[in-house]
Protein backbone atom coordinates (compact mmCIF):
# COMPACT_ATOMS: atom_id res chain seq x y z
CA UNK A 1 0.00 0.00 0.00
CA UNK A 2 2.65 2.39 1.14
CA UNK A 3 4.80 1.43 -1.77
CA UNK A 4 1.98 2.14 -4.18
CA UNK A 5 1.46 5.61 -2.74
CA UNK A 6 5.19 6.24 -3.06
CA UNK A 7 5.03 5.33 -6.74
CA UNK A 8 2.63 8.23 -7.39
CA UNK A 9 4.73 11.28 -8.24
CA UNK A 10 5.05 13.93 -5.59
CA UNK A 11 3.41 16.69 -7.66
CA UNK A 12 0.28 14.56 -8.29
CA UNK A 13 -0.10 13.87 -4.59
CA UNK A 14 0.12 17.56 -3.74
CA UNK A 15 -2.23 18.52 -6.53
CA UNK A 16 -4.85 16.00 -5.43
CA UNK A 17 -4.76 17.43 -1.91
CA UNK A 18 -5.47 20.90 -3.34
CA UNK A 19 -8.32 19.54 -5.51
CA UNK A 20 -9.81 17.71 -2.54
CA UNK A 21 -9.77 20.91 -0.50
CA UNK A 22 -11.49 22.80 -3.33
CA UNK A 23 -14.20 20.11 -3.65
CA UNK A 24 -14.85 20.09 0.09
CA UNK A 25 -14.97 23.91 0.07
CA UNK A 26 -17.48 24.08 -2.78
CA UNK A 27 -19.71 21.39 -1.27
CA UNK A 28 -19.80 23.12 2.13
CA UNK A 29 -20.45 26.48 0.50
CA UNK A 30 -23.32 25.05 -1.57
CA UNK A 31 -25.00 22.94 1.11
CA UNK A 32 -23.98 24.47 4.46
CA UNK A 33 -23.24 28.15 4.03
CA UNK A 34 -25.62 28.99 1.16
CA UNK A 35 -29.15 29.32 2.51
CA UNK A 36 -31.49 26.75 0.94
CA UNK A 37 -34.01 29.51 0.25
CA UNK A 38 -31.55 31.07 -2.18
CA UNK A 39 -32.00 28.06 -4.44
CA UNK A 40 -35.71 27.76 -3.65
CA UNK A 41 -37.93 27.89 -6.73
CA UNK A 42 -40.88 29.28 -4.79
CA UNK A 43 -39.73 32.87 -5.23
CA UNK A 44 -39.66 33.03 -8.97
CA UNK A 45 -42.83 30.96 -9.11
CA UNK A 46 -44.63 33.29 -6.78
CA UNK A 47 -43.47 36.35 -8.67
CA UNK A 48 -44.64 34.73 -11.91
CA UNK A 49 -48.06 34.10 -10.42
CA UNK A 50 -48.18 37.68 -9.17
CA UNK A 51 -47.19 39.02 -12.57
CA UNK A 52 -49.90 36.85 -14.07
CA UNK A 53 -52.49 38.14 -11.56
CA UNK A 54 -51.54 41.74 -12.29
CA UNK A 55 -52.54 41.44 -15.96
CA UNK A 56 -55.34 43.62 -17.28
CA UNK A 57 -58.89 42.35 -17.25
CA UNK A 58 -60.64 42.99 -20.57
CA UNK A 59 -63.94 41.14 -20.19
CA UNK A 60 -65.97 42.43 -17.26
CA UNK A 61 -68.15 39.39 -16.59
CA UNK A 62 -71.79 38.57 -17.18
CA UNK A 63 -73.35 39.92 -14.00
CA UNK A 64 -72.17 43.51 -13.89
CA UNK A 65 -73.90 44.87 -17.05
CA UNK A 66 -77.37 44.54 -15.52
CA UNK A 67 -76.48 47.07 -12.83
CA UNK A 68 -76.96 49.90 -15.33
CA UNK A 69 -78.68 48.24 -18.28
CA UNK A 70 -81.46 46.61 -16.30
CA UNK A 71 -84.12 46.80 -19.01
CA UNK A 72 -82.07 44.83 -21.55
CA UNK A 73 -80.91 42.35 -18.91
CA UNK A 74 -84.50 41.86 -17.77
CA UNK A 75 -85.69 41.29 -21.32
CA UNK A 76 -82.91 38.83 -21.95
CA UNK A 77 -83.27 36.69 -18.86
CA UNK A 78 -86.39 34.83 -20.01
CA UNK A 79 -85.56 34.53 -23.70
CA UNK A 80 -83.61 32.00 -25.75
CA UNK A 81 -80.49 34.11 -25.29
CA UNK A 82 -80.66 33.99 -21.50
CA UNK A 83 -77.35 32.11 -21.26
CA UNK A 84 -75.58 34.29 -23.80
CA UNK A 85 -73.38 36.75 -21.98
CA UNK A 86 -73.70 40.43 -22.94
CA UNK A 87 -70.04 40.49 -23.94
CA UNK A 88 -70.55 37.62 -26.38
CA UNK A 89 -72.15 40.05 -28.84
CA UNK A 90 -71.08 43.44 -27.49
CA UNK A 91 -67.42 42.63 -27.01
CA UNK A 92 -65.19 43.27 -24.00
CA UNK A 93 -66.66 45.86 -21.61
CA UNK A 94 -64.19 46.40 -18.77
CA UNK A 95 -62.97 49.63 -20.41
CA UNK A 96 -66.61 50.79 -20.63
CA UNK A 97 -67.10 50.16 -16.91
CA UNK A 98 -64.01 52.14 -15.96
CA UNK A 99 -64.93 54.94 -18.35
CA UNK A 100 -68.53 54.84 -19.63
CA UNK A 101 -67.75 57.13 -22.57
CA UNK A 102 -65.84 54.31 -24.31
CA UNK A 103 -68.63 52.31 -25.88
CA UNK A 104 -68.60 48.58 -26.47
CA UNK A 105 -69.53 47.45 -29.96
CA UNK A 106 -73.02 46.44 -31.03
CA UNK A 107 -73.36 44.07 -33.95
CA UNK A 108 -76.10 45.40 -36.22
CA UNK A 109 -75.31 43.90 -39.61
CA UNK A 110 -75.82 40.42 -41.00
CA UNK A 111 -72.25 39.31 -40.52
CA UNK A 112 -72.22 38.70 -36.77
CA UNK A 113 -75.31 36.56 -36.11
CA UNK A 114 -74.19 34.05 -38.74
CA UNK A 115 -71.17 33.09 -36.63
CA UNK A 116 -73.63 31.03 -34.63
CA UNK A 117 -76.74 30.77 -36.81
CA UNK A 118 -75.44 30.00 -40.31
CA UNK A 119 -76.09 26.43 -41.38
CA UNK A 120 -73.20 24.06 -40.69
CA UNK A 121 -73.62 20.28 -40.87
CA UNK A 122 -71.31 19.95 -37.86
CA UNK A 123 -73.60 21.96 -35.61
CA UNK A 124 -75.82 20.05 -33.18
CA UNK A 125 -79.23 19.22 -34.62
CA UNK A 126 -81.93 21.41 -33.16
CA UNK A 127 -79.70 24.46 -32.93
CA UNK A 128 -81.48 27.22 -34.91
CA UNK A 129 -79.65 27.72 -38.19
CA UNK A 130 -80.42 29.51 -41.44
CA UNK A 131 -78.91 29.69 -44.88
CA UNK A 132 -77.66 33.30 -45.01
CA UNK A 133 -77.83 33.33 -48.82
CA UNK A 134 -81.52 32.44 -48.99
CA UNK A 135 -82.80 33.82 -45.68
CA UNK A 136 -84.09 37.37 -46.39
CA UNK A 137 -80.94 38.57 -48.13
CA UNK A 138 -79.61 42.09 -47.44
CA UNK A 139 -82.01 42.71 -44.54
CA UNK A 140 -80.27 43.07 -41.18
CA UNK A 141 -81.20 40.32 -38.71
CA UNK A 142 -82.34 42.84 -36.10
CA UNK A 143 -85.11 44.19 -38.34
CA UNK A 144 -87.13 41.00 -37.63
CA UNK A 145 -85.46 39.44 -34.57
CA UNK A 146 -84.82 41.22 -31.29
CA UNK A 147 -81.39 39.93 -30.21
CA UNK A 148 -82.25 40.44 -26.52
CA UNK A 149 -85.35 38.25 -26.85
CA UNK A 150 -85.19 36.33 -30.11
CA UNK A 151 -88.17 34.28 -31.22
CA UNK A 152 -88.59 32.48 -34.51
CA UNK A 153 -90.63 34.76 -36.80
CA UNK A 154 -93.07 32.01 -37.49
CA UNK A 155 -93.87 29.42 -34.87
CA UNK A 156 -93.41 26.03 -36.52
CA UNK A 157 -96.68 24.35 -37.39
CA UNK A 158 -97.65 21.50 -35.15
CA UNK A 159 -96.17 18.43 -36.86
CA UNK A 160 -93.14 20.11 -38.42
CA UNK A 161 -91.95 21.32 -35.03
CA UNK A 162 -90.66 17.79 -34.41
CA UNK A 163 -90.85 16.17 -37.84
CA UNK A 164 -89.00 18.90 -39.65
CA UNK A 165 -87.23 16.50 -41.98
CA UNK A 166 -90.52 15.02 -43.23
CA UNK A 167 -92.08 18.47 -43.49
CA UNK A 168 -89.24 19.87 -45.58
CA UNK A 169 -89.16 16.91 -47.95
CA UNK A 170 -92.95 17.02 -48.35
CA UNK A 171 -92.90 20.67 -49.42
CA UNK A 172 -91.06 19.75 -52.62
CA UNK A 173 -93.23 16.68 -53.34
CA UNK A 174 -96.53 16.29 -55.27
CA UNK A 175 -98.15 15.72 -51.86
CA UNK A 176 -97.15 19.19 -50.62
CA UNK A 177 -100.70 20.43 -50.31
CA UNK A 178 -102.01 17.38 -48.46
CA UNK A 179 -102.05 17.94 -44.72
CA UNK A 180 -100.51 15.46 -42.32
CA UNK A 181 -103.90 14.70 -40.80
CA UNK A 182 -105.34 13.62 -44.17
CA UNK A 183 -103.46 10.34 -43.75
CA UNK A 184 -102.54 10.27 -40.04
CA UNK A 185 -104.92 10.77 -37.19
CA UNK A 186 -103.04 12.13 -34.19
CA UNK A 187 -104.19 11.37 -30.63
CA UNK A 188 -103.87 14.39 -28.32
CA UNK A 189 -101.58 12.39 -26.02
CA UNK A 190 -98.99 12.04 -28.78
CA UNK A 191 -97.85 15.56 -27.96
CA UNK A 192 -97.27 14.63 -24.31
CA UNK A 193 -95.76 11.18 -24.71
CA UNK A 194 -94.69 11.04 -28.35
CA UNK A 195 -93.11 7.61 -28.24
CA UNK A 196 -95.76 5.64 -26.39
CA UNK A 197 -98.82 7.15 -28.09
CA UNK A 198 -98.28 7.17 -31.83
CA UNK A 199 -100.33 8.61 -34.69
CA UNK A 200 -102.05 6.13 -36.97
CA UNK A 201 -100.77 5.19 -40.40
CA UNK A 202 -102.86 4.00 -43.38
CA UNK A 203 -103.11 0.23 -43.29
CA UNK A 204 -104.69 -0.82 -46.57
CA UNK A 205 -104.14 -0.40 -50.32
CA UNK A 206 -107.64 0.94 -50.56
CA UNK A 207 -106.65 4.05 -48.56
CA UNK A 208 -104.34 5.22 -51.35
CA UNK A 209 -106.88 3.97 -53.86
CA UNK A 210 -109.28 6.68 -52.72
CA UNK A 211 -107.28 9.07 -54.89
CA UNK A 212 -105.17 6.81 -57.07
CA UNK A 213 -107.73 4.08 -57.88
CA UNK A 214 -109.21 3.78 -61.35
CA UNK A 215 -112.65 4.75 -60.05
CA UNK A 216 -111.48 7.90 -58.21
CA UNK A 217 -112.73 11.24 -59.52
CA UNK A 218 -109.51 13.14 -58.57
CA UNK A 219 -108.25 14.47 -61.86
CA UNK A 220 -104.69 15.47 -60.85
CA UNK A 221 -103.74 12.13 -59.25
CA UNK A 222 -102.14 9.39 -61.37
CA UNK A 223 -104.48 6.40 -61.62
CA UNK A 224 -103.81 2.67 -61.36
CA UNK A 225 -105.95 -0.43 -61.33
CA UNK A 226 -105.82 -1.64 -57.74
CA UNK A 227 -106.71 -5.16 -58.78
CA UNK A 228 -103.76 -5.64 -61.15
CA UNK A 229 -101.10 -3.15 -59.86
CA UNK A 230 -98.57 -4.15 -57.27
CA UNK A 231 -99.67 -7.70 -56.62
CA UNK A 232 -99.69 -8.49 -52.89
CA UNK A 233 -97.56 -5.54 -51.77
CA UNK A 234 -98.74 -2.45 -49.95
CA UNK A 235 -98.37 0.90 -51.71
CA UNK A 236 -95.72 2.36 -49.36
CA UNK A 237 -93.45 -0.64 -49.73
CA UNK A 238 -92.42 0.80 -53.11
CA UNK A 239 -93.58 4.45 -53.00
CA UNK A 240 -92.54 6.87 -50.25
CA UNK A 241 -95.75 8.77 -49.50
CA UNK A 242 -93.98 11.90 -48.20
CA UNK A 243 -92.20 12.26 -51.49
CA UNK A 244 -93.75 10.05 -54.16
CA UNK A 245 -91.91 9.88 -57.46
CA UNK A 246 -93.43 12.07 -60.18
CA UNK A 247 -95.03 10.35 -63.13
Amino acid sequence: MRGMLRKIPEQIRRLSIVIAIIIVGVVTARYVILPSSLTDRRFHRESTAQREVAKNIVFAGATICGNCHGDQAGKKKDGFHKNVSCETCHGPAQAHIENPSTKPTAARGRDFCVFCHAYDPSRPTGFPQINPVLHNPIKACITCHNPHDPVPRETPRECSACHAQIASIKTVSPHALIGCTSCHSVPVKHKVTPRSVRPTKPETREFCGKCHGKESDRKDAPKIDLASHGERFLCWECHYPHRPERM
Partner: protein, 246 residues
Amino acid sequence: MNRRKFLKNAVLFVSAAGVFRHLLKDAAAKPTAGGYDPANHLYGMGIDIDKCIGCGLCIEACKKENNVPKEPFFCRTWVERYVIKRDGSVTVESIEAQKGKPRADEPDILRSFFVPKLCNQCANPPCVQVCPVGATFATEDGVVLVDSKRCIGCRYCIQACPYGARYLHPETRTADKCTFCYHRIVKGLLPACVEVCPTQARIFGDLKSMASRLVRFTRVNKIHVLKPHLNTEPKVYYADMDGEVR
Protein backbone atom coordinates in the same frame (compact mmCIF):
# COMPACT_ATOMS: atom_id res chain seq x y z
CA MET B 1 -4.09 39.09 3.84
CA ASN B 2 -2.80 37.69 7.10
CA ARG B 3 -4.31 34.79 8.97
CA ARG B 4 -6.10 36.96 11.56
CA LYS B 5 -7.83 39.03 8.89
CA PHE B 6 -8.88 35.91 6.98
CA LEU B 7 -10.44 34.31 10.06
CA LYS B 8 -12.24 37.55 10.93
CA ASN B 9 -13.72 37.85 7.46
CA ALA B 10 -14.74 34.19 7.43
CA VAL B 11 -16.64 34.56 10.74
CA LEU B 12 -18.36 37.72 9.40
CA PHE B 13 -19.35 36.02 6.14
CA VAL B 14 -20.85 32.96 7.82
CA SER B 15 -22.89 34.99 10.30
CA ALA B 16 -24.06 37.41 7.58
CA ALA B 17 -25.20 34.44 5.50
CA GLY B 18 -27.16 33.17 8.50
CA VAL B 19 -28.97 36.51 8.87
CA PHE B 20 -29.66 36.65 5.10
CA ARG B 21 -31.08 33.14 5.24
CA HIS B 22 -33.40 34.12 8.07
CA LEU B 23 -34.65 37.17 6.15
CA LEU B 24 -35.36 35.08 3.06
CA LYS B 25 -37.30 32.56 5.11
CA ASP B 26 -39.52 35.37 6.40
CA ALA B 27 -40.14 36.63 2.88
CA ALA B 28 -41.12 33.18 1.69
CA ALA B 29 -43.70 32.73 4.42
CA LYS B 30 -45.59 35.87 3.38
CA PRO B 31 -49.02 34.99 1.99
CA THR B 32 -50.15 36.31 -1.41
CA ALA B 33 -52.08 39.53 -1.38
CA GLY B 34 -55.86 39.85 -1.64
CA GLY B 35 -56.82 37.06 0.75
CA TYR B 36 -56.62 34.49 -2.03
CA ASP B 37 -55.13 31.19 -0.91
CA PRO B 38 -54.20 28.92 -3.83
CA ALA B 39 -54.14 25.91 -1.54
CA ASN B 40 -57.94 26.01 -1.30
CA HIS B 41 -58.53 25.71 -5.04
CA LEU B 42 -57.93 23.29 -7.88
CA TYR B 43 -59.19 24.49 -11.21
CA GLY B 44 -60.43 22.49 -14.17
CA MET B 45 -62.63 22.84 -17.21
CA GLY B 46 -65.41 20.74 -18.69
CA ILE B 47 -66.20 20.67 -22.42
CA ASP B 48 -69.67 19.65 -23.55
CA ILE B 49 -68.93 18.61 -27.13
CA ASP B 50 -72.62 18.25 -28.00
CA LYS B 51 -73.20 21.91 -27.22
CA CYS B 52 -70.34 23.44 -29.20
CA ILE B 53 -71.62 25.20 -32.33
CA GLY B 54 -68.19 26.18 -33.61
CA CYS B 55 -68.85 29.92 -33.64
CA GLY B 56 -65.25 30.72 -32.73
CA LEU B 57 -66.12 33.51 -30.28
CA CYS B 58 -64.03 31.82 -27.56
CA ILE B 59 -60.89 32.07 -29.70
CA GLU B 60 -61.53 35.74 -30.38
CA ALA B 61 -62.25 36.53 -26.71
CA CYS B 62 -59.10 34.71 -25.60
CA LYS B 63 -57.01 36.75 -28.02
CA LYS B 64 -58.49 40.01 -26.74
CA GLU B 65 -58.08 39.08 -23.09
CA ASN B 66 -54.56 37.68 -23.27
CA ASN B 67 -52.83 39.69 -26.01
CA VAL B 68 -52.46 36.70 -28.29
CA PRO B 69 -51.41 37.65 -31.84
CA LYS B 70 -54.33 37.92 -34.26
CA GLU B 71 -52.99 35.45 -36.86
CA PRO B 72 -54.83 32.09 -36.81
CA PHE B 73 -51.47 30.37 -36.32
CA PHE B 74 -51.19 31.59 -32.72
CA CYS B 75 -53.78 30.58 -30.17
CA ARG B 76 -54.18 29.57 -26.56
CA THR B 77 -57.49 27.91 -27.35
CA TRP B 78 -58.84 26.68 -30.66
CA VAL B 79 -61.76 24.68 -32.02
CA GLU B 80 -61.38 21.65 -34.26
CA ARG B 81 -64.03 20.54 -36.73
CA TYR B 82 -64.19 16.78 -37.16
CA VAL B 83 -65.80 15.36 -40.28
CA ILE B 84 -66.16 11.59 -40.51
CA LYS B 85 -67.18 10.46 -43.99
CA ARG B 86 -69.10 7.34 -45.00
CA ASP B 87 -65.93 5.77 -46.30
CA GLY B 88 -64.42 6.11 -42.80
CA SER B 89 -62.03 8.94 -43.60
CA VAL B 90 -61.61 11.57 -40.89
CA THR B 91 -60.77 15.22 -41.54
CA VAL B 92 -59.82 17.58 -38.76
CA GLU B 93 -59.47 21.30 -39.32
CA SER B 94 -59.20 24.38 -37.18
CA ILE B 95 -62.34 26.44 -37.70
CA GLU B 96 -60.65 29.83 -37.59
CA ALA B 97 -59.96 30.13 -41.31
CA GLN B 98 -63.55 29.19 -42.21
CA LYS B 99 -65.15 31.47 -39.64
CA GLY B 100 -68.60 32.82 -40.51
CA LYS B 101 -68.76 31.24 -43.95
CA PRO B 102 -71.85 29.12 -44.60
CA ARG B 103 -71.24 25.49 -45.40
CA ALA B 104 -72.97 23.26 -47.87
CA ASP B 105 -74.55 20.05 -46.70
CA GLU B 106 -71.99 17.48 -47.73
CA PRO B 107 -74.00 14.34 -48.53
CA ASP B 108 -71.33 11.80 -47.63
CA ILE B 109 -70.90 12.95 -44.02
CA LEU B 110 -71.51 10.18 -41.51
CA ARG B 111 -71.12 12.40 -38.49
CA SER B 112 -69.51 15.71 -37.74
CA PHE B 113 -68.93 17.87 -34.68
CA PHE B 114 -66.72 20.53 -33.10
CA VAL B 115 -64.16 19.97 -30.35
CA PRO B 116 -62.83 22.97 -28.42
CA LYS B 117 -59.23 22.52 -27.30
CA LEU B 118 -56.93 24.28 -24.89
CA CYS B 119 -54.14 23.54 -22.44
CA ASN B 120 -55.21 20.55 -20.36
CA GLN B 121 -53.41 21.90 -17.26
CA CYS B 122 -52.11 18.39 -16.64
CA ALA B 123 -51.48 17.28 -13.08
CA ASN B 124 -48.42 15.50 -14.47
CA PRO B 125 -47.29 17.93 -17.16
CA PRO B 126 -44.65 16.83 -19.70
CA CYS B 127 -43.86 20.47 -20.52
CA VAL B 128 -42.71 21.07 -16.94
CA GLN B 129 -40.52 17.99 -16.97
CA VAL B 130 -38.59 19.03 -20.05
CA CYS B 131 -38.03 22.74 -19.32
CA PRO B 132 -34.24 23.11 -18.96
CA VAL B 133 -34.44 26.34 -16.92
CA GLY B 134 -37.44 25.57 -14.70
CA ALA B 135 -39.43 28.41 -16.25
CA THR B 136 -42.70 26.50 -16.42
CA PHE B 137 -44.39 24.99 -13.41
CA ALA B 138 -47.73 23.99 -11.96
CA THR B 139 -49.19 26.28 -9.32
CA GLU B 140 -50.82 24.97 -6.19
CA ASP B 141 -54.27 25.68 -7.64
CA GLY B 142 -53.57 23.49 -10.62
CA VAL B 143 -52.65 25.90 -13.38
CA VAL B 144 -49.47 25.46 -15.43
CA LEU B 145 -47.77 28.84 -15.86
CA VAL B 146 -44.74 30.06 -17.81
CA ASP B 147 -42.27 32.47 -16.24
CA SER B 148 -41.63 34.69 -19.25
CA LYS B 149 -38.56 36.20 -17.55
CA ARG B 150 -36.91 32.80 -17.15
CA CYS B 151 -38.04 31.24 -20.41
CA ILE B 152 -35.21 31.13 -22.95
CA GLY B 153 -37.50 30.32 -25.88
CA CYS B 154 -35.93 26.93 -26.64
CA ARG B 155 -39.31 25.48 -27.76
CA TYR B 156 -38.64 22.21 -25.95
CA CYS B 157 -41.96 22.43 -24.09
CA ILE B 158 -43.81 23.15 -27.36
CA GLN B 159 -42.44 19.89 -28.72
CA ALA B 160 -43.17 17.99 -25.52
CA CYS B 161 -46.83 18.98 -25.15
CA PRO B 162 -48.87 16.05 -26.51
CA TYR B 163 -51.88 18.35 -27.04
CA GLY B 164 -50.11 21.05 -29.03
CA ALA B 165 -51.31 23.65 -26.56
CA ARG B 166 -48.21 25.86 -26.57
CA TYR B 167 -46.79 28.33 -29.04
CA LEU B 168 -43.87 30.72 -29.17
CA HIS B 169 -45.09 34.28 -28.76
CA PRO B 170 -43.62 36.23 -31.70
CA GLU B 171 -43.07 39.43 -29.66
CA THR B 172 -41.65 38.13 -26.38
CA ARG B 173 -39.98 35.12 -28.05
CA THR B 174 -41.03 33.01 -25.07
CA ALA B 175 -43.40 30.07 -24.78
CA ASP B 176 -47.02 31.03 -24.16
CA LYS B 177 -50.07 28.99 -23.31
CA CYS B 178 -53.54 29.00 -21.77
CA THR B 179 -53.47 29.99 -18.10
CA PHE B 180 -57.24 29.51 -17.54
CA CYS B 181 -57.07 33.35 -17.48
CA TYR B 182 -55.24 33.15 -14.15
CA HIS B 183 -55.63 36.92 -13.58
CA ARG B 184 -59.42 36.51 -13.81
CA ILE B 185 -60.02 33.31 -11.87
CA VAL B 186 -58.13 34.43 -8.75
CA LYS B 187 -60.53 37.39 -8.65
CA GLY B 188 -63.57 35.17 -8.96
CA LEU B 189 -64.25 35.85 -12.65
CA LEU B 190 -64.62 33.18 -15.31
CA PRO B 191 -62.01 32.67 -18.02
CA ALA B 192 -62.78 34.82 -21.08
CA CYS B 193 -63.66 31.84 -23.32
CA VAL B 194 -66.17 30.55 -20.77
CA GLU B 195 -67.55 34.04 -20.34
CA VAL B 196 -68.44 34.49 -24.01
CA CYS B 197 -69.46 30.92 -24.94
CA PRO B 198 -73.08 31.36 -26.10
CA THR B 199 -74.11 27.73 -25.60
CA GLN B 200 -72.38 26.93 -22.30
CA ALA B 201 -70.21 24.33 -24.01
CA ARG B 202 -67.35 25.28 -21.69
CA ILE B 203 -67.83 24.79 -17.97
CA PHE B 204 -65.27 26.18 -15.56
CA GLY B 205 -65.01 25.40 -11.89
CA ASP B 206 -63.14 24.45 -8.77
CA LEU B 207 -62.56 20.71 -8.28
CA LYS B 208 -62.00 21.19 -4.55
CA SER B 209 -65.40 22.76 -4.08
CA MET B 210 -68.21 20.41 -3.08
CA ALA B 211 -70.71 22.19 -5.31
CA SER B 212 -69.28 23.82 -8.40
CA ARG B 213 -70.57 23.74 -11.95
CA LEU B 214 -67.62 21.61 -12.95
CA VAL B 215 -68.10 19.05 -10.21
CA ARG B 216 -71.75 18.73 -11.18
CA PHE B 217 -70.71 18.44 -14.83
CA THR B 218 -68.33 15.58 -14.06
CA ARG B 219 -70.98 13.90 -11.95
CA VAL B 220 -73.83 13.87 -14.47
CA ASN B 221 -71.87 13.24 -17.68
CA LYS B 222 -69.76 10.42 -19.04
CA ILE B 223 -66.33 11.98 -18.95
CA HIS B 224 -63.26 11.32 -21.04
CA VAL B 225 -59.91 13.11 -21.22
CA LEU B 226 -57.59 13.50 -24.20
CA LYS B 227 -54.82 10.88 -24.56
CA PRO B 228 -55.31 9.20 -21.16
CA HIS B 229 -52.66 6.58 -22.01
CA LEU B 230 -49.94 9.23 -21.63
CA ASN B 231 -50.69 9.52 -17.89
CA THR B 232 -50.58 13.29 -18.02
CA GLU B 233 -53.77 13.45 -15.91
CA PRO B 234 -55.46 16.34 -17.73
CA LYS B 235 -57.87 18.65 -15.93
CA VAL B 236 -59.93 19.43 -19.03
CA TYR B 237 -62.82 16.98 -19.07
CA TYR B 238 -64.75 16.13 -22.24
CA ALA B 239 -68.33 14.90 -22.22
CA ASP B 240 -69.73 12.79 -25.09
CA MET B 241 -66.42 12.56 -26.87
CA ASP B 242 -66.26 10.59 -30.12
CA GLY B 243 -63.64 7.86 -30.44
CA GLU B 244 -62.05 9.67 -33.38
CA VAL B 245 -61.07 12.68 -31.25
CA ARG B 246 -57.34 12.77 -30.62
